[in-house]
Symmetry: C2
Subunit: 496 residues, 2 copies
């Protein structure tokens, strides 16, 4: 039983010890000053958070605010709120903090005059980049570009990255149809009136439960929750089914393979249907693991076949690694697990990468200036952080650390799941990009709330999923704190 | 004649002196260390820029790059490139540098531990804001919110600001139609399939030559240049004519008033037509001065009537102040010149404000969380700069400085225009947000190139317009350097 494999000290200073697990000891990477565990001083939200919420509500819809944070005191994997509560943070600002809070090396990032000046002299990068911009872009491509994707554009956020990825897909599709980039007068004029042929009827296909952003283009491919889409006009673009697997995978191979094939057949049908309807599909966007939609996985086979279908139809395969990119799955890019014949045509990123952007292959290159362009085109201040983060991931072998921690975390969750089924089930993940499914939406919400009351912040996804998005420094020690808290929470819940 | 009213010292140290113009002397605000004038050492682009361009082209389409900049050496209104050339910069990173390069007070912005930590602990502001976020948002609303628009959302850039403004307009329109925010099951389900009634057929109207961004929603309202839109699908939304004035205004009152009325009638027709076609207009987006489209102005009368038409049709009036906001017109918001009956429903910003966002009125409020939301929702690191900038604008009375400099600049350009017509004409502007129209597209391009060769960076807009977007510290001394360079350039050109 779960409870027998760990010893728990007094709450607030709980240290779980794994007996006989050497890996546990050897892979603890810790930021100096991290507390030993959560420490709660008030109910959540505490009185100071409640006061600040009133102040903020004067000028903003603040209904999504959970707590106000003392970012000066937060450290490593621990978030400290304005009421003095210390939380183990396994959600890390919606998966955006690869090295946790106040990492000492990042604190040094702007302590030299050159990089400090970068912050206040922000260039319009498409026209007047700084001297170090070519070196920085080449360095990032060398260090982390997916194999074969040797071009990079930076943007501000994940939605802008995806919006621009769509544009590359559309332009490449039309270039192939036209045989060149020599536009006709009719195209040049009609596009200004939003009419074909200049503004062509083309589509981006996405998957049920997908999340790709909230700007009007990306929102037309987002299919996770109605609250994100309702009342907003959308392009009439196709939505394919995404495999819904049963877990554990090893006991459900046949069902899951059938899911793959059924969904792939659906993709082919939609290509055909939209083509016949006069709005061909120019690109397919897909997450390697559907995140906001509930941490839904698909097999390498599914992605390999999806790529083949895209290629057959002349559509770009856009891999949205906004949430999976930057290491949390134990590879720098999650799609590296899929053993694709060639890399995707475009890989988009943001979140842990500190700014949005995308890598792309030769086919997706734009041949004229000002076709993908905007005022800022990214932000050197964020790239300075990104370069440091990439260097630290490489130097400290953090991907291996993530794989080890993730393996441990998943094993323990699977053991716990057996004890508590059906209260939660379907433990799944790559690296520490891990999720479980609760028996009901209510049970999931209860788990998150009760975990938070015990000093552990986790995240929800879709209706039934509880997801973990910890830092890359999250180790078995932290995992044990989470596991212990979850154990206590679930132990106190009743299956309906 | 122009040349008689100024004395010019040797090139590279030219100081123009206005005899008997006291205002000139009294309003020079200067950042310590600014050079006396441009100083050119190489042709442009210089050899170092050319080398860096090759390096960057390895990984990016870099065809829009003009020069690489030494941001460490750039100061105030002067930009220094990697070849050691010093330019007077009247374009300032596409109008985004309100206080110029390396302003000493901005350099202090992150020299305290708290604000430095803000840079590396970036919150998901919609869920886990920092303790000072409510104070900062309330402060910004108090200091600069347009009268009556007491709500603010921050985003990352101007396109995201406009995308979200559209969403507020759509949601408000549907709430009024529905009488509430109680969604039907059919709406909740259909929106996930991008179909009505959940994803309604609604439109945003914009104007010919408008620029509102390049994401797919905003690009559907952008109507300035085909290179921005070609090959990209767009919403079938209406485009109204924008007044095309003749200058000088005082000699063309009748024609310009007719333009206003003709365009306003067009707006009314489009409201009716799109309403009948089953895609009612939920909002109209307009720039107070069309910028990218050629610095096209319209009268207070036009905007007052436009607001009345919007109100009659239940559509939101969205004022896109991405380029005009933050002081360059001599008011903090350009629409303050229009004496509107009430403020616009939404005012969007970015550029000089350092990050995107929008102010909005009570009608435009969203009542449920997560309807306008994203991971970062802005960036405290930029807000720290914005607050400093706002305080300096207020403390140093920079709006008055801008008005004085602008008045002088426009007077002198109008005098010069008389000497050189028809080579350039139609001098126009508010504050230092000033433009002239060249005789031809070729002449305009020549002017920009030759000005740059003389050490003055200016900007193009649309085909024939040369626009100035200097810092708010740009004074008559700087204006004289620009005027002198322009005089020499135009003097050497021949009318076709």
């Amino acid at each position: 039983m779960w409870s027998k494999c760990c010893r728990v000290s007094a709450f607030g200073h709980q240290i779980l010890q794994q007996i006989g697990n050497k890996a546990f000891v050897s892979t603890v990477l810790q930021i100096a000053g991290e507390p030993e565990g959560p420490c709660m001083k008030t109910a959540v939200p505490g009185p100071r958070t409640q006061q600040l919420l009133k102040d903020l509500s004067n000028v903003q819809q603040a209904g999504s605010t959970q707590i106000f944070v003392d970012y000066d005191k937060s450290i490593g994997n621990y978030l400290v709120d304005v009421d003095g509560n210390t939380f183990l943070d396994t959600y890390t600002q919606i998966s955006t903090m690869p090295l946790g809070y106040n990492h000492p090396e990042l604190l040094q990032a702007f302590c030299n005059e050159h990089d400090l000046k970068c912050l206040i002299n922000r260039p319009a990068l498409g026209v007047f980049p700084g001297e170090d911009w070519p070196r920085r872009m080449n360095h990032i491509v060398e260090m982390v570009a997916p194999r074969g994707l040797n071009h990079i554009n930076t943007m501000m956020c994940g939605a802008c990255a995806n919006e621009n990825a769509f544009k590359h897909a559309f332009m490449a599709y039309r270039r192939r149809e036209r045989g060149s980039d020599n536009f006709s007068k009719e195209e040049e004029e009609s596009c200004l009136c939003n009419q074909p042929p200049g503004a062509p009827k083309l589509a981006i296909m996405s998957f049920k439960h997908a999340f790709h952003g909230r700007s009007l283009g990306t929102l037309s491919t987002t299919r996770s929750k109605f609250i994100q889409k309702i009342d907003i006009p959308a392009f009439d673009w196709p939505m394919a089914d995404f495999p819904q697997y049963c877990y554990p995978l090893e006991n459900n191979e046949r069902h899951n393979k059938e899911e793959d094939d059924k969904c792939l057949a659906g993709v082919e049908e939609l290509f055909e249907k939209w083509g016949k309807n006069g709005m061909p599909v120019a690109g397919v966007i897909v997450e390697p693991i559907q995140s906001e939609g509930g941490d839904n996985h698909a097999s390498p086979y599914f992605f390999q076949r999806l790529q083949a279908i895209c290629r057959k139809n002349g559509a770009a395969l856009i891999m949205d690694e906004v949430q999976t990119g930057g290491g949390p799955t134990g590879q720098f890019w999650c799609h590296e697990y899929f053993d694709l014949e060639t890399p995707p045509d475009i890989v988009t990123f943001s979140k842990k990468m500190q700014l949005g952007g995308y890598f792309f292959n030769d086919d997706m290159r734009v041949h004229q200036p000002f076709r993908t362009f905007n005022t800022w085109m990214g932000d050197p201040g964020k790239v300075i952080l990104l370069e440091k983060i990439i260097d630290i991931i490489s130097r400290d072998d953090l991907l291996e650390h993530v794989r080890k921690t993730g393996k441990y975390l998943i094993e323990q969750l699977k053991r716990m799941e057996k004890e508590f089924a059906p209260l939660f089930h379907s433990t799944r993940g790559r690296g520490t990009f891990v999720a479980i499914t609760a028996e009901s939406a209510g049970a999931r919400d209860q788990m998150i709330d009760k975990l938070r009351a015990k000093g552990v912040i986790s995240g929800g996804a879709y209706t039934h999923t509880l997801r973990l998005r910890p830092t890359l420094l999250f180790g078995q020690k932290h995992a044990d704190i989470f596991l212990d808290a979850l154990y206590k929470v679930v132990k106190g819940m009743k299956s309906s």
